[in-house]
């Protein structure tokens, strides 16, 4: 957050054409303001990951000099990287926003959710999320999802309608024309809104560089103890890994996404700065999800299934 102002990256400003990052920023700010204006009780999903951090940065710029007019919501799997939680809390304090935490662990403790055999908790996030939406009567929930992440997301709307059970029905999704986002809904229904729909992974990193946005340290190279499972480097921790016959070794790694420790894999990387990360991604040969999310490897339709259930 060193820089204020939009439009500073336009190389062709004299001709009044925005750079692609400026155009994406203008669109996202428009969407964030639509949400603030059209909904009674919006919230922004904040995980401490790069996408939600960029979204938060955009929300800040959208409403300056006023504060961000909605709270943040974090679904905590209980298996977060400590670096992410530290970053989350520091960011919340710096932005002066309110943070609500929906806690998977407490649902397990109360017997409402059961630990899975593989101890992966990503699929367990849905219930706490939906309960938090219900309890707080949120009518719009902003998420950092991008359409380029996964094939099933390519058709996701910017304003995505969820029924009173939080479920996504492809048939009820509304066509989105021009810049006219339709947020009307019946009582009990809510909308998931994705201001970064049209961004790619490279755009997100380009924007992080242009705006000098701080991220959790695990996005950059560091020495870490890891073990191999299902072709991915997982980090040992209280979540349960490693198992028998999974030897631990030290490697120089970084993360491309930050999620649940049980299913977010590290990649071997020497990239220590945003520039180096961007160079690495530009040359990279594996998609973000393919490299680091175990749960997406389960099946091609995995994402679609979870979306129907109300996962973000």
């Amino acid at each position: 957050m060193t820089e204020r102002g939009f439009g500073v990256r336009a190389t062709t400003r004299a001709r009044h054409i925005l750079s692609h990052l400026d155009a994406l920023e203008a669109e996202s700010v428009h969407i964030l303001r639509e949400v603030a204006a059209e909904f009674d009780r919006p919230a922004l999903l904040f995980s401490g990951g790069k996408d939600s951090t960029v979204m938060l940065h955009l929300a800040r710029k959208a409403f300056l000099p006023a504060p961000i007019p909605f709270p943040l919501l974090h679904v905590d799997t209980g298996h977060n990287f400590p670096e992410t939680l530290e970053f989350r809390d520091r960011t919340v304090e710096r932005f002066g926003v309110r943070l609500l935490v929906a806690d998977v662990q407490s649902y397990i403790d109360a017997g409402l959710l059961q630990e899975r055999a593989d101890r992966t908790r990503n699929p367990l996030q849905t219930l706490p999320l939906l309960r938090a939406i219900e309890a707080n009567r949120f009518d719009a929930v902003l998420g950092g999802g991008r359409r380029d992440e996964e094939k099933a997301r390519a058709k996701e709307r910017v304003f995505s309608l969820r029924d009173e059970f939080g479920q996504w029905d492809p048939r009820r999704q509304r066509p989105e024309l021009w810049r006219l986002y339709n947020g009307r809904h019946r009582p009990g229904e809510h909308l998931r809104v994705f201001p970064l729909s049209n961004w790619t992974e490279l755009d997100v990193w380009g924007y992080i560089r242009a705006e000098d946005i701080e991220l959790p340290s695990i996005y950059f190279t560091h020495r870490r103890e890891v073990f191999l499972r299902g072709g991915m480097w997982l980090a040992p921790g209280s979540w349960g890994g490693p198992g028998d016959g999974e030897p631990v070794q030290e490697r120089m790694v970084r993360y491309r996404t930050v999620g649940d420790m049980s299913c977010t894999g590290a990649v071997d990387s020497p990239a220590a700065s945003v520039d180096e990360v961007i160079a690495e991604i530009a040359a990279s040969r594996v998609t973000e999800r393919g490299s680091s999310r175990a749960d997406d490897r389960m099946s091609e339709a995995a994402m679609e299934d979870r979306k129907r259930e109300g996962y973000f």
């Binding site: 603030a36 390519a154 058709k155 066509p175």
Partner: protein, 420 residues
């Protein structure tokens, strides 16, 4: 680090359309593949599925295949968005299915497109669907239309065949007032003239499809300045109006009108992302401050005094029915225009357009899914609309069902000059 310095020419939004089997999925897959928007793990998945289906080579069309229901039916039934970039531009591609009944999908994709790629099969030439796609592009005022004459390998790369199709298409598109029309002979399967020039069509001297996408001039015709107010930003000693410029530009000191009320005032400050600036231009998102403590709220339109739109409560629209249920004369609906939502009643539905013959018939007071007709509405309060021909954002409306919230109809204010 030249590889990361992408897209110096900004963002281009495009839509693709074609009939089933013209090769649209193959073309889009090839654009993604040849611009490295596809990663080897995705490609490996495509190869695996192709092998399972007994295909000899990787079917690039699988790259763009979407939801499960559609996979099962084997057809794409909704708009999907794809992203790719070159050193010159970043592209947002709205991939719209060409199935006969899905005019509404193409209307959706074309609404934001600066360029439309329409595919034809070189063996079949200009077919009914081609006409439909061209009409929709013209109606939505997509400024650039490119005809991709595909499967040139199946007509021996014949120049005369291409010229014949290109001529028929160009003539048709010009009649509909499309300002920029280009035809390109390609083979999506072999990659000829998609990204790389074709060694098989030396008679063709024009750009490849991607070169055309990279260089097409996106400046457009200047439109009068419009700033729809989205949200009022209030802080200590601060009151500003947030919005995204639909068109034109605003400068500090400009004399403006606030519509529909019509108060005149002056711009005293403009901020972009919290930083003060002297001017802002479309499509920037800005915050504007005004000289007088006039009453301004979401749904108001700020425009220069000299070129302000005239608020109206009776609108004649070209309507396209998006919802699966029809609208009828007498229906009460909500009308959404920029950031303003007002109640409205449908007073007339007439002159239904046959997109093939370009003739109209009696719509019998009802507009069914995928149909296009003239719709007249009366609004409970005036709205500061522009003719769609003059302004793509401020001439656009949606009709919405108040009870379900469903988006029913897309409307474009005014009647295009070519309307039969």
């Amino acid at each position: 680090m030249t590889t990361t310095e992408i897209a110096v020419g900004g963002l281009l939004r495009l839509a693709t359309a074609g009939s089933v089997d013209d090769g649209k999925s193959t073309l889009v897959g090839r654009l993604l593949h040849d611009t490295s928007a596809v990663m080897p793990d995705q490609l490996e998945a495509v190869r695996r599925v192709s092998r399972d289906k007994g295909l000899a080579q990787a079917d690039l069309a699988l790259l763009t295949d979407g939801l499960r229901a559609e996979r099962e039916q084997g057809i794409t039934i909704d708009v999907a968005y794809r992203y790719f970039a070159t050193a010159k531009r970043r592209f947002v591609l709205a991939d719209t299915p060409g199935h006969v009944q899905y005019t509404r999908n193409m209307v959706t994709g074309a609404s934001t497109a600066q360029l439309a790629v329409i595919l034809v099969d070189a063996r079949l030439g200009f077919v009914e669907q081609t006409g439909r796609h061209t009409v929709v592009s013209a109606l939505l005022r997509v400024p650039h239309v490119a005809l991709a004459v595909n499967k040139m390998d199946l007509v021996d790369h014949d120049e005369a065949r291409f010229a014949e199709i290109a001529e028929e298409f160009t003539e048709y598109a010009r009649r509909l007032g499309v300002p920029d029309v280009v035809a390109i002979p390609i083979s999506a399967l072999c990659g000829d003239n998609v990204v790389e020039p074709s060694p098989n069509m030396s008679w063709y001297a024009g750009p490849t499809l991607l070169e055309h996408l990279e260089t097409v001039d996106t400046d457009g015709v200047p439109e009068a300045t419009r700033f729809p107010v989205q949200y009022v930003v209030r802080a200590a000693d601060f009151r500003g109006y947030a919005g995204q410029l639909s068109s034109g530009m605003l400068r500090v000191g400009d004399e403006v009108a606030v519509l529909p009320a019509g108060h005149h005032t002056r711009i005293t400050g403009i901020e972009l992302g919290g930083a003060p600036v002297q001017e802002a231009f479309a499509p920037q998102s800005a915050v504007v401050r005004l000289a007088d403590a006039v009453d301004v709220a979401r749904g108001d339109m700020i425009a220069p005094v000299a070129t302000q739109p005239i608020p109206a409560d009776r609108l004649l629209l070209v309507g396209c029915q998006l919802a699966s249920r029809p609208i009828r004369v007498g229906d009460r609906v909500l009308l959404r225009h920029t950031t303003r939502t007002v109640r409205a009643v449908v007073e007339g539905i007439d002159e239904r357009l046959d997109v093939h013959s370009l003739r109209t018939d009696n719509a019998l007071d009802t507009l069914y899914t995928n149909e296009i007709a003239l719709v007249s509405v009366r609004t409970a309060e005036p709205v500061a609309v522009d003719p769609y021909e003059a302004n793509r954002h401020c001439g656009a409306v949606l009709l919405i069902d108040e009870a379900s919230g469903d988006t029913l109809t897309a409307g474009m204010v005014g009647v295009p000059t070519w309307w039969p």
